[in-house]
Symmetry: D3
């Protein structure tokens, strides 16, 4: 990695982990992304939330709980900063209370990030932010496969007569052709629905769905096999709604659904996607105000750590390859 600026976390042997400004993993806060392999980017927007609200504080909560992350991932066997330079980009500007204006700002902000060639990891915010993010991703990479971990399909046509909320982004994304539906999959859907036809929304949109009860029944390995088969070799985008996880493990979210998955299963699912060609990631719907023991933000930080590990692993293969 000669001739390139190598960004890495503060040294924990000099600065104990409780020290320093709260960037993700205590990475440098850098906005010039030249030669940066991955960038963690906050998208603190939550005007799309239809029930509990406060995901605008999600990025801060996740950063606060990322301090304990260390650079070597023993499960994926990768020493991240041997292969990668990574930064915390800070937050994209948004206008709280103004959905369409903010979506434009997010799209524009994300465009700058993507233009640099870095792999972005976005921290929501509510799930509505995935729509402008996918617009930017598709503008650069063309339509992508979507891998969505979520307890809700977020494919509803609209709420209260309006088209954009955190329950509608993927309906819009499908309509706009941002997603290659036949390579896409929604995983973990569960909980009461408005009507029976809701159960068919994923398939009607052309996507595969693996419901929560199905995932409980088939297990992680089988699910991974199906996801990998579905997504294949092209570019993919991973969106992780923290409400995929059971409320005991992730209470701090806006529309929790019981009967979900634990932390170990969540990590295993992400790690198992190490061979997918990801062009971007987001993790959304973390709400610190509903997370008194901080376990939600802590798990979210660890899931993001797996995203980063996959980026580093793929980087190391290219170098070695």
């Amino acid at each position: 990695m000669t001739g390139k600026k190598q960004y890495r976390p503060m040294d924990a042997m000099i600065y104990p982990r409780f020290e320093g400004l709260r960037s993700f993993m205590r990475l440098p806060h850098v906005t010039d992304l030249h030669d940066v392999d991955f960038a963690v980017v906050g998208v603190p927007f939550d005007t799309g939330a239809t029930f509990r609200v406060g995901a605008r504080f999600g990025p801060a909560g996740i950063r606060d709980n990322s301090l304990l992350l260390r650079p070597y991932n023993p499960v994926l066997d990768v020493d991240i900063f041997q292969h990668c330079s990574g930064v915390d980009y800070g937050d994209l500007p948004v206008i709280p209370g103004y959905l369409s204006e903010s979506h434009l700002q997010i799209e524009e902000g994300a465009r700058t990030v993507l233009a640099s060639g870095t792999t972005p990891i976005f921290l929501g915010g509510d799930h509505s932010v995935s729509l402008p993010l996918l617009r930017t991703v598709a503008a650069k990479h063309g339509p992508v496969a979507l891998i969505q971990f979520d307890s809700h399909s977020d494919l509803w046509p609209g709420y209260f007569g309006e088209k954009d909320t955190h329950g509608t982004p993927f309906r819009r994304a499908v309509e706009e052709g941002l997603i290659v539906v036949e390579r896409s999959v929604q995983v973990g859907l569960r909980g009461p629905l408005y009507e029976k036809s809701d159960t068919a929304m994923s398939r009607e949109a052309g996507m595969l769905d693996i419901t929560g009860p199905e995932l409980h029944a088939m297990g992680i390995e089988e699910a991974l096999r199906r996801i990998r088969d579905r997504v294949g070799a092209g570019p993919a985008y991973l969106t992780f709604d923290i409400d995929f996880v059971d409320p005991a493990f992730a209470p701090g979210t806006g529309t929790p659904e019981v009967g979900g998955f634990n932390g170990y299963q969540s990590l295993a699912l992400v790690r198992g996607l190490q061979d997918i060609s990801f062009v971007g990631f987001d993790l959304v719907e973390v709400m610190p105000a509903y997370d008194p023991a901080s376990v939600t933000s802590l798990l979210a930080a660890n899931i993001i750590y797996e995203f980063i590990s996959i980026i580093a692993l793929q980087k190391s293969r290219k170098v070695r390859g």
Copy 2:
């Protein structure tokens, strides 16, 4: 469903889910139960509690966390209000601090509810309330099979020289002949006991017990088979003490026992009883003051949702049948 008043939740597409007075599932608050298929009825009494106290706020906590419930149950495949009219009846009057007087009031209040022909779902309150409820149920239906999910048998003869606490209701119920013991089962019993003979209390009372460790070992499907075999075709009453669930999933209760069951298992057990002929349900021992992330009340609301779904499913079969 002609000629009948059809009660259903507020419309979430007009009134967002955080709106309106906090009835269960935002059902109408109605006390005339004529032609009502199910009624959610609070029994906010906790004078029977021997350790932590505060289950008098259980009904309010559960209602607050029932707002996200939607009408279609995808696992049981039933669209509840296609088949059912349901209401929140409010709370039965009690006299805090006065156990026998309140038990009489509860019995009387429940009698009015049952007289209407509606299927009642009672929200405790501590577990002592199941005694007057069973008295009312047996007065109407005769002795019933009891299905009890609980970490404690609540069959102790007495506490501190007194006969009525939340640890004694089923001893009293057996003595009074309210329960058909040979059709009854206690599921999930675990945790330290006073003495070895306590392990035999269920069987000595004539009931089947499936202890927590046994349930962990045999799994949900086998347990369901045994419960169904045991209960058979006659009328049954389900009582769900939230301390059946592990404290990570349900910390907000009065006498938590570690090593319990998760939310998914709890839901699966209830759903699996869809063919039992229930004449009533209760869910007890939710204490919001010990539930900082509200996960206990949220899970309780979802378990009650499964009770309602079973009522609706059986209703739909009768109509179709």
Copy 3:
């Protein structure tokens, strides 16, 4: 009060105060306001919030903490329901995330309430809701005097290039001529500002301001004298932003400012306005998710109780007069 439906709270000697659905003060939930003297009306809208968010749960939090209120106010010497019939109207529909649409809905909803002749008490929601409420009030009563308790003037021209947030409603109200500025007063303004010219905003708008430090220095009695002098005899509207109160007494709000006023002072200020001719009231910016000991909602409920007491007191005078 013959021939008129008399609505009053549930009887606490039959139904203990923890019983029943959580309406304000356990008043009946009634939407036909014919012959109703006052109505408590939720406006659970918080899309205008620029920092912390979650005031959409304010009405529920206040209702939960209004259960202890009893009907006789010993300071104002008025037995409310001797003179008044009062109800909880429920919440006005809004569209979370859609500010202008919701403001129209709020205006329309409030119009129905005001058309009935009842005196409305609105529970926010963020402070942006005062704008549509004032539009409705002015449409009925003409421009009114504004009495605003607040640590911020909420007279900013705009935020982020947008005209409507919770920091701008009174700028808009002045521009639209909804307020008689020469009869209006802002009380309690304090805390750091963007620039020096912000200190002149009240006066430039034509209103009197009594800053927080001035109020600390002059005391409650002198402040009341000035407010009464300013407002005079015509119709007035009182808006109470809970951040007027010191964060020790009201932590559960969106933009708290230290160095504020205690509960006793807050109550005394409201009580002291018993002779003003109020045509409406609101209390805004209560956020239960930031109120772990519920003291904010409890104080808010008691402030609203003083509003109600003033209505009853004036009613009793008219009857006697």
Copy 4:
């Protein structure tokens, strides 16, 4: 103090304040009260509570927050254990859920304590415990003057048709002649009441009342003068309901009333009674489950410290005198 066992707290220079079992002020846990000057005695009973419940954990909460107390009181200028031997007696046995049985147990337990000649300081528990305590005190000392700090008079005739709750103890005490009403005073009464006649209950019972608003107006010094004048030289009993204090300073209680008094005022009032001939004290209605920052228990522990300081001060005068 020769020939007498001298009990004093653990030495904080050897055992840091977070060490050891949680007795009050880390005093020895001793039940033989021979030659003990004061004893702190828990009365963890809360079946008399009509709204929030959980004061059974009050003694534990207060003990947990008494660890920082040191032996020298600089305001009263008394070095407590120079003059006194003091212990933590532990808790009196009660039967949760059984009011009259527990009142008998409390009376009996307190009788043993008083028989020893020690000055007792009782930690509630709800306010209903003051009735059996006063019975015991009056049995030993004859009727006593009552000094009650409280936001409620607790003189109601009954609740829900029952005679004993935490709202009725002093009505019963007056009826039973346990109190010398003409030497007694209730201080701090405030908040909404059921009806106008409630404002006269203290005076009708023959006691002086200084309401909350009156106390705010007259100030601590004048109030102390009136209390001292009222009580005079005979034996007196002090009961301190923590809801006397404002909810910002004492949120952890069952029926909080806003507009109350701060910690400094509360301490000053107790200290100012240093010349009263006290035969016993209680402090009631502390509920740790509603006290997330522990400030209620901390203040309660400090108020009890003032009780102890008065005992020590009077002891020192006798010795010197």
Copy 5:
């Protein structure tokens, strides 16, 4: 058990479980350990913590949550106090902020405990306390097998240039020859590491490690088989770092790692070691300030209960044997 003082918990049928000073399981607080079979001993020292801090309050938190424990263990089928006399010894003195001085004090304090012949159960405190405890144990019993449940190996050579923190005790213990490494095992290691070589630390030290992912894959029974094989018949010491457990079940700890084990698995692992010849136990890193629902302390208390049950079981066999 003739001629021997038999210490057992307070009688829950006379003193309800919320009564009394908070000793472990409400055992007598006794420091003369003559003829005592087991003693629970607090070691409230946390100066070794490198991230979150506050385990000095661990013993108090665990005691508070041990009140519900009853004397008969149904899984191990042992009625503890039929075979054992047990006490709460209180806390060992330490000097907060002074690590080497405190380690000497702990060593000295533990020596007194061990000298009595009682089996000690130490409550940390941070994990650094295991070092002086092992020194004491080895001084008495010679080098012992170590069974460590933990998400971290705590074998780091040092932190910040210092040799003693909570991340280093077992490196020191190995260096000092306190542990028979070839009979020792570390179970549950997981989470990000500093570098790849960290994964080899256990094996390089001569110990067996079963990582978290390995344990998830092999299951409890297989792990138990390997641990028993490894440890064999000689004296063993069990150290349980509560961060072995998943943060959903044990959020209240200093360096939580997601993807861990649940309460049932944790109990099963401990119970399965009933045939090991234990000479001592510790449970460390419980931090009540990060445990809002108290589930961490509750689980810790139950794990300690299993330690006690094993002691009793082995005692009963010897007697019978």
Copy 6:
């Protein structure tokens, strides 16, 4: 301010206040202090704490709650960044658990800060950090006047036989001649003491003390007069222990003392010192883990804002002068 880099907060009209990494007041994180007028510097060290611990998270908590601060101070009438360039320097490295080593590191770190000529504002950490900070300050400026707001004098000779804890820094500072005692003052001392002689410690050390009760009696204005008279014109250092403030306003601290001062009084005291020649400031003992509603950190951030305002005000006078 020509030719000089002007650092100021992020623009709140572009980046809403919840955006960005959490530096103090969202100032740039800069470590080159050339031409910087003030620098906020974290000192996250808490090994000196003798009771509750966790002030290492104080700087993070204060930064999180400083986001709402705006640049114009209306009470002091100063527009800060018109006159000043200010930054967040980040945290000084420390070694948790190692007091003397860390004090050296703090001294060295602070020396670099002071060498730049910037005015430092240090965020503790526990109060022991004031000792190395004063060493650095005195090394540069010579002995300084100390203005200490605190409920404890922190002049104890030692604890547990050790010389350095958070209760001893000013004893050491006096011994080392770092303080001009005859120009120094301790304000707010209160609460129980170890013995009577403790009341004389300030005066014996040569300092003036204004105890808490004295301050309550004399009022803010008189206290300010005395402080100003005492301190005079030479260089001064202000240390603010947040436990000066009453626990209702600042519960999140390590050794809270009831009967303290409110937020308004605290701000007024600091503002009133605008003419003192300060060479440095610290604010210590904030513990976020004990601050569930964040009011402690919020008040701390506002007190620091007053420090900054004084710096700016004095700067503006020099420029104008």
